[in-house]
Symmetry: C2
C-alpha cells in the first residue's frame, strides 16, 4: 500500500517537510492548511516541488464546521469551499478532509447533514475533487465512524466517502467490526496515529500527545486490518499532532515515522519485511577511550583479563566468564562527536545473533543506518547499525569450539598471554544507554522493531535535578537486556558530569565478588547511611546481612518473584559498572534504588 504523512507531523517550513518526507521514502503527503498558508510558495510551486521530490499530494486538510448548519451559515460555507477547491486544483490535490462539525450552530439532524454534504460533494465533483468526511472524537453531534458512515451512506454521492482516523476511532474504544460493513471504495482515506493511553481530555490528548503507530497503546494494526478487509486500497497516512515532533529535526522524525509505518504494515499483514532476528546474548560491549590509564585498572580490579588484541586495530579484548569488553583506543573515528574528551564512553554493543546477515537486512529495511563494515581484509564480516542515540549495534557470532558456519568475530583477535583472576562475574546482565532528549519513543520503537527486543513499561526515576524516564527492552529469556533512559531536559549539565551510561555485570554471589573487587582496588560508589536505615525499616534481614550491605555499598530490592542485590563502581569518564545478583525470578533493575544511586553519584561529582 502507498504510504503518506501529514505535513503537521513534521517540523519546519513546508519545503523542509516535503524534503524530509521524500528522503524517508514516503510516497505522498497530506498538506495541512496552515503549512500552506504560512508558505511563501504559491500552490503551483508547491505542486511542482512535491512532484520533483516524487511525492503525490494525497489529501488537503482540514475543512471544518461545514455541515448540519442553518442555511445562511451553509451558504457562507459553500463560498469558503469554492475558494478552497480552487486552491486544491492549483495544488493538484484531489481529496479534501471534512471534519464533523464542532460549531455551536450545528444541529443534530442527520438528514440536514447528509443533504449539505451531498451539496458540497456536487460542488467538489465539478472540480474533480472527492470529499472524505471524518468523525472527530469530540464532534458536536457526529463523533463515531459509524455515525459518519450512516450520513455518507444517506447522502449517496460518488464524490463523498469517509475518512477513518485511527486516533478518533481507537481513543473512544470503538468496535472495529463496523468498518468491514463499509464498502472499501467508500473509504476514501485512512489516517493513522497512535497515542499512549491517558485519562486526559480527548481533544488535548489528540492535539498534543499522538505518536507514531507502535509508540503508544492503541491497536492501530487492527484498524488497518479492518480497513483492508473492507477493501480499502488507498494510502496509509500518518497524521500525528505531537508537541515534540513539532520541534524535532524533520528528517529524523520522518525516518522514525516511516519505520513505524513499515512495522505497522508488518503487524497488519500487508507487508513482510525481512523477519526479526532476536539476539540471544551479549557478544561484547565496546568502550572507546583515548587512553586506558583509568579504565584498565578498573577492569583488572573487577576480575577481567586482557585476553586478546585485534589484529588490525588498537582494540583490546578483556574477558571474564562470558562477559567481554572491548577497549578501543582508536579515537580518531569519534573525535568529531567530542564524546571522548571526558574519558571512556560506551560506544558499541555486540549482540549474539543466530543470523547476522538476516538481522542486518531487517535493520536496513527499517531504515536503520547500516554502518560501513570496519574490517581489514581477512576480518570476519561485522554487520552493524547505528541506534538513534549513536550506539553501534553489531550482529555477531561468538565462535565456540566445533562451531562452523558464520565466522566468529573473535577470529580477528590475536590471543595475548594473561593470567586469569576472575572475581565471579559470569556475563553481561544489561547495558544502560542514555537517549537524546525527546527521542525516547523513537528509541523504544527502534529496539523493538529493528533489534527484536520486547519493551517493558516505562518508569519515572527521581534524580535530584529532574525526573528521568527509563524503559527496559529485553529478549524472552533475559539474556539480552537494555535499559533506555532519558533525562528531563536537553542539556545534561556537563558541570555535573553529563549523563553517564553503564554496563551491568552478573555475579552469582555478590558479596564475595565485591570484597574481591575492593581488595583489588576498585572504587565503589558510597551509599548514604540513611538508605540502610530505610531498608531496616522496610524489611527484616538475617543477622549481619544489612551490616554487610552497608559496609560494601550494596543496594537491595525485592519483588514477588525474588531478590536483587546490586552495587556500582564510581564513574570513569562517561561509564560506570554495576554488579548485580538476581535471586529467584527477580526481573527488574532495582528502580526503587535509582534515586539513591543518582543522589550518591551527584554527591561524588561535586
Amino acid at each position: 500500500m502507498r504510504t503518506s504523512i501529514a505535513t503537521v507531523s513534521l517540523s519546519g517550513t513546508l519545503t523542509e517537510k516535503l524534503a524530509a518526507a521524500a528522503r524517508a521514502g514516503f510516497d505522498g503527503v497530506e498538506i495541512f492548511e496552515n503549512d500552506l498558508t504560512g508558505s511563501p510558495l504559491s500552490p503551483e510551486e508547491i505542486r511542482e516541488r512535491a512532484a520533483d521530490l516524487g511525492l503525490t499530494i494525497d489529501l488537503y486538510q482540514p475543512m471544518r464546521d461545514i455541515e448540519a448548519v442553518p442555511a445562511d451559515e451553509f451558504a457562507r460555507n459553500l463560498r469558503r469551499a469554492e475558494h478552497k477547491f480552487r486552491l486544491m486544483r492549483r495544488l493538484g490535490a484531489d481529496t479534501v478532509l471534512v471534519c464533523s462539525s464542532v460549531s455551536p450552530y450545528a444541529v443534530d439532524d442527520d438528514t440536514l447533514a447528509a443533504g449539505q454534504l451531498r451539496r458540497l460533494a456536487d460542488l467538489a465533483q465539478e472540480s474533480g475533487i472527492r470529499v472524505a468526511y471524518e468523525a472527530l472524537a469530540w464532534g458536536r453531534h457526529v463523533s463515531t465512524y459509524e455515525h459518519a458512515w450512516r450520513i455518507v451512506e444517506a447522502a449517496d454521492h460518488p464524490a463523498l466517502g469517509v475518512c477513518l482516523d485511527s486516533f478518533h476511532i481507537l481513543a473512544r474504544g470503538s468496535d472495529l467490526s463496523g468498518i468491514e460493513d463499509i464498502p472499501g471504495g467508500k473509504i476514501f482515506f485512512l489516517q493513522l496515529a497512535d497515542a499512549p493511553q491517558m485519562a486526559l481530555d480527548v481533544l488535548q490528548w489528540s492535539r498534543h500527545h499522538r505518536c507514531f503507530p507502535g509508540q503508544g497503546d492503541l491497536d492501530v494494526a487492527a484498524l488497518v486490518r479492518a480497513a483492508v478487509r473492507a477493501g480499502y486500497d488507498g494510502p496509509l497516512s500518518l497524521e500525528v499532532f505531537n508537541d515534540v515532533f513539532r520541534q524535532a529535526d524533520a528528517g529524523r522524525t520522518a525516518i522514525d515515522a516511516r519505520r513505524s509505518l513499515t512495522l505497522l504494515q508488518e503487524s497488519a499483514g500487508v507487508t513482510a519485511p525481512p523477519a526479526p532476528v532476536v539476539p540471544t546474548g551479549f557478544a561484547f560491549v565496546e568502550i572507546a577511550t583515548a587512553d586506558t590509564a583509568r579504565i584498565a585498572p578498573l577492569l583488572t580490579a573487577l576480575g577481567f583479563s586482557r585476553t586478546a588484541r585485534h589484529s588490525g586495530k588498537p582494540v583490546d579484548l578483556w574477558e571474564q566468564g562470558e562477559a567481554r569488553i572491548l577497549l578501543n583506543t582508536d579515537t580518531d573515528t569519534d573525535t568529531d562527536t567530542g564524546s571522548h574528551r571526558s574519558g571512556p564512553s560506551l560506544t558499541a554493543v555486540g549482540l549474539e545473533s543466530p543470523d547476522p546477515a538476516g538481522a542486518s537486512a531487517r535493520a536496513e529495511s527499517l531504515l536503520a543506518p547500516v554502518l560501513p563494515r570496519r574490517r581489514a581484509p581477512g576480518d570476519a564480516p561485522l554487520d552493524a547499525v547505528a541506534a538513534p542515540d549513536g550506539t553501534e549495534f553489531f550482529f555477531c557470532v561468538t565462535e565456540r569450539p566445533g562451531d562452523t558456519g558464520h565466522p566468529g568475530w573473535t577470529g580477528d583477535f590475536v590471543p595475548a598471554p594473561h593470567t586469569p583472576a576472575p572475581i565471579g562475574i559470569t556475563r553481561v546482565d544489561h547495558v544502560a544507554l542514555s537517549q537524546p532528549w525527546h527521542h525516547f519513543d523513537e528509541a523504544t520503537l527502534f529496539h523493538r522493531g529493528v533489534l527484536g527486543l520486547r519493551p517493558q513499561a516505562s518508569v519515572d526515576l527521581a534524580d535530584p535535578y529532574g525526573l528521568l524516564r527509563s524503559r527496559a527492552v529485553s529478549n524472552e529469556d533475559g539474556t539480552v537486556r537494555i535499559a533506555l533512559g532519558v533525562g528531563a531536559s536537553p542539556g545534561e549539565d556537563p558541570a555535573r558530569g553529563g549523563r553517564p551510561q553503564h554496563v551491568a555485570l552478573v555475579t552469582d554471589d555478590l558479596v564475595p565478588t565485591v570484597r574481591r573487587a575492593l581488595a583489588s582496588g576498585a572504587r565503589m560508589l558510597p551509599v548514604p547511611a540513611n538508605y540502610y536505615d530505610d531498608l531496616a525499616a522496610a524489611h527484616e534481614f538475617a543477622p549481619g546481612e544489612l551490616e554487610t550491605y552497608r559496609e560494601l555499598g550494596i543496594l537491595h530490592d525485592r519483588d514477588e518473584k525474588g531478590e536483587f542485590r546490586h552495587c556500582y563502581t564510581v564513574t570513569t569518564g562517561r561509564v560506570f559498572f554495576e554488579l548485580v545478583e538476581r535471586v529467584g525470578g527477580y526481573d527488574g533493575y532495582g528502580a526503587r534504588n535509582a534515586p539513591v544511586r543518582l543522589a550518591a553519584q551527584h554527591a561524588l561529582a561535586e
Copy 2:
C-alpha cells in the same frame, strides 16, 4: 501564620533545598523521605543544618499503607513506624504525615482503621510525635477529608489529627464547609498546592502537574480561609510535585514559592502586604543598543522624533503622541548578559503609576528584586524592579502641565530641537516579552501579583519549529497590556535569530499609517500570498480592502466584539515593532495570525 515548604517542591540535594528555602524566607520545611534517604548527612547533621539556617522541621513525610490492614501486615507496619519515629527524634521532627492506604490488602473498615491509627498514635506519643492523617484523592477506601476526619474522630487520640492537602481536596471538587466542623486543634497540618484544571487521571495530575497557589485553577485561598475559621494555627506549607520545579534552580523556585504564599495569604485575608498599585499606562519602553545605526532610522520612519536626551546618561527619548521610546546606548551596564551582541533589545518598561513608592513597596514585599536606582543627583527617583525574565519595570509618573506631587521622570531629560513628523501612532498598545523556558507560570504570577495586572487565558501558537505559549496580562481598561510568551525548548536557536521581543504601537487608521511608514523607508514583514487567499475564503471584504491588505502586509482578525488590523516591521537585533488598529471592542492580539507571522519571520531570517 508560619510558612513552610516541602523539600520535594525544590530541586537538588537536601542541603541545596534547605539553603534555598531559608534564603527565600520560609520559616520551616517538610522533609520528604527520599531527600533524606539520598543525603550523605546524618539526621542529626540535617537537624543542625536546618537550625543554623533558622528553619524548623515541621513535618516528616510520607508514611504509607499503614492502616486498615490485616493484623500481621499491621505488625510489620508498626515495626516500620518504630524505625521512622526513632529517625524523627534524631531529626527533631515532631509531626509525621500518614497517607490513607492504597494497598491492595487494605480493607474497607473504618473501625479497624481507627483502631490501628490509635495504636500508631500511642507509639508516636511515646516519642513525642504527632500523626497527621491525610486522605489521598486516590486512597483505596479513604479518599476524602471528611472520611479521614471521621476515622480520626473515632480513634480519639491526642496524638492523632488530620492533615488537609489542598490538592487532594480541591481536585475532587469537595465541599469545604465540612472543614469548619473539625476542631482547629485537630487540624495538625495544612499542605498547599494549586494545579491547572485538567481532565487527567488524578494521580498523574497530582504527581506531575501541581503548581504554586495562584498558578493554577484551584481555589486554595478558600481552603485556607476554612481552615483558619476552624481554628487552625499551624504552618501554611507548600507541597508541590512538579516536573519542572524538579529541574529548575532551587533558589529561584523558592522565591517564586514564597511569593505565591504571600499572595495566597493576602487572598485568604490572613496577611496584608502593601496593596497592589495598578499601572494606568505605559510611560515608556526602553531599548538598549550599542549603536543606533539600525534602530534610529526605523523609529524615524515610524514617525518618532528624538525629543530629548537624558542629562546624565546616554539615553535618548523618542516620542510620537503618547508613545515614548528610550534608546539607551549605555551598554556597559549590560555587557555581562551579552544581550546586545545581536543588536537592539527591549530591556525596560516604564509603567505609569498612581503611586510609584507604593508599587515599589508592594514589589519588595513580594520578593521582586528592587533595582538600584540608576540616578544622578537631582534626577527624579526611579522605582524599579526586575521581572523574572530580566526586564526592568519602572514605576513612574509622566509629568503633565500643572502636575504637582511625584516628580516626573521626564524632568531628567533635556529637550532637543526636533521637527515632529508623526504618522498616526498615538500610544503603546502592548509589549511582548519572551519568558525563559519553564518559567511561564512564575512570570504570570509576577505580573499579576507584583504589577497588579490581570491574566487572560493562555493560548498555543504554532511556530514552524514548535508550539509557543502566550498569555496576555492587562489592566482593566487595556491601557497596559503585556503579552508573555514562552518557547518550546530551552535553547532558542540563535541561527534562527533567537526569540525576538516586540513593541506594538496603536494607530487609529492603519492603512495610511503603514503607507507613510513605507514611504519613509520602513521595512515591513512580507506576508505570504496564501494568507490572503485563506482570508478571502474566510470572510467577505469591501471591494479593494483585501488587495490593500495584501499590498501592505496587513493581517486581519475579527471576534464577536470587533476587528483587528495589524502588521509588523522586520526584526532589528532582538526587537521588532507591530502597528495595530483595534476596531470596536476587539480585545485580543491576533493570535490566529501568529503562525503566519512566525513563519514569515523565519523565512526572512534564512
